[in-house]
Symmetry: C2
């Protein structure tokens, strides 16, 4: 839309109000609709319905947009259980279990962002920083030695990111044709005993539940 | 290159010999050079130096190409420790540790493939199937109940895939500016105590080693 042709004067502002929050929300929406590859400053401006210059008043470049997007996604993760654990209201293991599940579910809906956010610094992303502060606080509260806190956070995150992909795996991923399976006796035996969990969110792989629970239990067993 | 203009007749064949193995190797090479998004049948044909029809003599479509690519990548993972554990030569925990490290290192070099392969069925990929058979055999050998074998395999894989991303994270990923860090005491305390591991492969994040070791130890603690 050509700004210069728009009549000026009284009435409402010609363009929607743009804030960093509306930019973040629009970037998240656009990524969900069209994938991360389609997220450019000009596509985002079109999606918001403003000229690109209106975005550049709030964010300097694509890198800053990514940080904003990271913070919008991380802001969806439920950190309340962590705060409750640090107040002594629930166990730290239960809190981490609830946090990890919420974190996985958020990224299951945003798998194209996993690779980006897994390697994006937290600088400039206040909600992301607060989440890490809350996870660290919970681990300290459980008595984890300081030098082990971040390694445990990162180990859990790695597990969570991979588990987010697994929610999209087809249920028959490990199936081998009967004619070949004589040579794969262990895989066949293991696959036959692999049971789906309770139905999760719509469209999610029911075989993703048990590995997620088993992995989390192992990662939290000593807390 | 236009086949019809190529002189026919005596001498060597005009086109390089094409087999499923050479197609797989070329697809892997092309993905490493140009990224997964650039992997199309026509780009692959150009890379091999043949007409697209020469590829279609061996593989039916892009889906089959993916299975071939999956098998080429999975074939790089070292399964020898698993076979040794099943023969009783080394402990199952040590074997799974070595396998997991090899698996992570292979995917650290092919991170764009993680999302694809994490959700790709193993049907049609013999080396991939053999790997899963070997992992399952090792877990059975360690006395893991049948219904827990695949959940444990998938849990380890999720952790491995996420850990592959972490090898590309910048060392300062958790650093927060000094002026903001008063409000993030737990994150600051945890980050200060987070020490890099021994230097890994060139270009890899030294802070990825400790989380990988810690996570693996927890995932294998009960074996």
């Amino acid at each position: 839309m050509n700004k210069t042709r728009r009549p000026r004067g009284r009435g409402r502002p010609a363009q929607p109000a743009v804030t960093r929050d509306t930019i973040a929300a629009a970037a998240l929406e656009l990524t969900l609709e069209s994938g991360y590859d389609k997220l450019t400053m000009s596509a985002l401006a079109r999606h918001v319905g403003v000229a690109p210059s209106a975005l550049y008043n709030h964010i300097a470049n694509k890198a800053e947009l990514l940080v904003l997007l990271q913070d919008a996604v991380m802001g969806l993760v439920d950190t309340e259980p962590l705060l409750r654990a640090t107040r002594g209201e629930i166990s730290v293991a239960d809190a981490l279990r609830a946090w990890a599940r919420s974190y996985r579910d958020v990224f299951a809906e945003h798998t194209p962002l996993v690779q980006v956010i897994a390697t994006l610094p937290v600088a400039g992303a206040p909600r992301t920083q607060e989440m890490y502060d809350a996870v660290a606080a919970a681990l300290f509260h459980a008595g984890v030695p300081a030098h082990q806190v971040m390694p445990r956070v990162v180990a859990m995150e790695s597990f969570i990111y991979g588990s987010a992909f697994d929610t999209h795996a087809p249920a028959h991923i490990f199936e081998v044709p009967a004619e070949g399976s004589q040579e794969l006796p262990e895989l066949r035996r293991a696959t036959e005993a692999f049971k789906p969990g309770a139905a999760g969110a719509a469209g999610s792989n029911p075989y993703a539940e048990e590995p997620f629970t088993v992995g989390l239990d192992l990662l939290l067993a000593d807390l």
